[in-house]
């Protein structure tokens, strides 16, 4: 006859004495319903933004009768929107599949997700460089072109150019910071789950 595992039974008894809030299930269910709505709202907002930017591009193209400068700008925006939507759908698919696999598969997926996110942030960083190379000469050209207007309305020049350069500078600070954070997360995650004593 098999000996009872006294030690494990004692630990189990101590373990089961922990926890047990009566209202936990109801409060969690309420929070899930609330958060579910929030997630759906955020998703709808991202899709709506993609649709709006596409519609704006189409309108600009029609309105300018296919002017080359507008066409190039719209192509850039549409390309970015396409990549954004693809990423959104891909992440959603991997998230949906992650919960039903085994834990080791889940660890792989989490690592993959972090790696994908790093690739995406690197892509955004490079896109910003390209955009800066294009935007700066264009700004100089626009400034010279609208010099008379800016001279008569200096606030307009300050607002337009300030907004543009402010956004660029903010992105130049924000994106590398985010990338560093993700790389640190991946490193931390790897060190956490990579227990060689188990192999």
């Amino acid at each position: 006859m098999e000996q009872p595992d006294v030690e494990l039974e004692r630990w189990k008894q101590q373990w089961h004495a922990l926890g047990g809030r009566e209202d936990l299930a109801r409060s969690l269910a309420e929070r899930v319903a609330r958060d579910g709505q929030k997630i759906r709202r955020e998703l709808a907002l991202e899709v709506a933004a993609a649709v709006a930017s596409t519609a704006l591009c189409v309108w600009l193209l029609v309105d300018s009768r296919g002017k080359p400068v507008v066409a190039v700008a719209c192509a850039g925006v549409l390309l970015f929107t396409g990549v954004w939507v693809t990423r959104l759908l891909t992440l959603k698919r991997t998230s949906a599949g992650a919960e039903v696999a085994g834990l080791d598969a889940f660890i792989q997926l989490t690592r993959q997700r972090l790696t994908d996110e790093i690739k995406w942030q690197t892509f955004r960083r490079r896109s910003l460089n390209v955009m800066t190379v294009l935007v700066v000469p264009w700004t100089v050209w626009a400034f010279l072109h609208r010099y008379a207007l800016y001279r008569s309305h200096p606030w307009l020049g300050a607002a337009e150019l300030g907004l543009l350069f402010g956004t660029l500078i903010a992105l130049f600070f924000h994106l590398p910071r985010k990338l560093r954070g993700l790389e640190a997360s991946l490193q931390r995650f790897d060190s956490l789950v990579d227990d060689r004593t188990l192999r």
Partner: protein
């Protein structure tokens, strides 16, 4: 195992998704709370993690085909979310004091026994948190009463691997608990 068969014999087909979620959370609130406590450092973190469990469960429920028991399914989700949680937060030594306030001892009417059990439970929780994640997962599932086979299902590893992890984890736990039993016997 009997509990699993009983769980599966309940027909969930007529339930609305919200009802099913609430039933599962009600049935498994305590194990979920303990899993959260073994990963989260503070009450606030534990609350967030519990919410994560519930949300993940809500998202994963439509995909549940009954190929394992509901308990196994829920614990798998809880441990998956906990790994994600740790990836965001990183491993640190954890204080257990905050858990003492909300932990409820289930030892009957005697408050002295209740207090003693709670204290021991908290020591066990502190020791569990100090284990490496793969060992911690196996130990918490063992303490929840899962068999090696069920743990292998939850973690997606072989039973042999579970046995190896369990032996090492229990040895580490013994050291961390400081041979409490021997002290008591003396």
């Amino acid at each position: 195992m009997t509990a699993d068969l009983l769980e599966q014999s309940v027909p969930p087909a007529q339930e609305r998704p919200e009802q099913r979620l609430e039933r599962l959370l009600t049935q498994h609130a305590r194990p979920l709370e303990r899993v959260a406590a073994s990963y989260a450092r503070t009450v606030a973190e534990r609350e967030d993690l519990l919410q994560d469990f519930a949300l993940a469960l809500w998202l994963a429920l439509p995909g549940f085909r009954g190929d394992c028991s509901e308990r196994t399914f829920i614990l798998r989700i809880a441990h998956n979310r906990s790994v994600t949680f740790l990836s965001k937060r990183g491993p640190k030594s954890e204080a257990v004091e905050e858990y003492q306030e909300s932990a409820e001892a289930s030892s009957g009417a005697n408050p002295a026994i209740a207090y003693e059990r709670k204290e021991r439970g908290n020591r066990l929780l502190t020791a569990t948190r100090a284990l490496p994640v793969p060992h911690r997962q196996v130990v918490t599932l063992l303490l929840e009463g899962l068999s090696h086979r069920e743990i292998a299902d939850v973690l997606g590893v072989t039973e042999n691997n579970v046995a190896v992890r369990a032996t090492r984890a229990r040895a580490a736990l013994r050291v961390l608990l400081g041979d409490e039993q021997q002290k008591e016997e003396r």
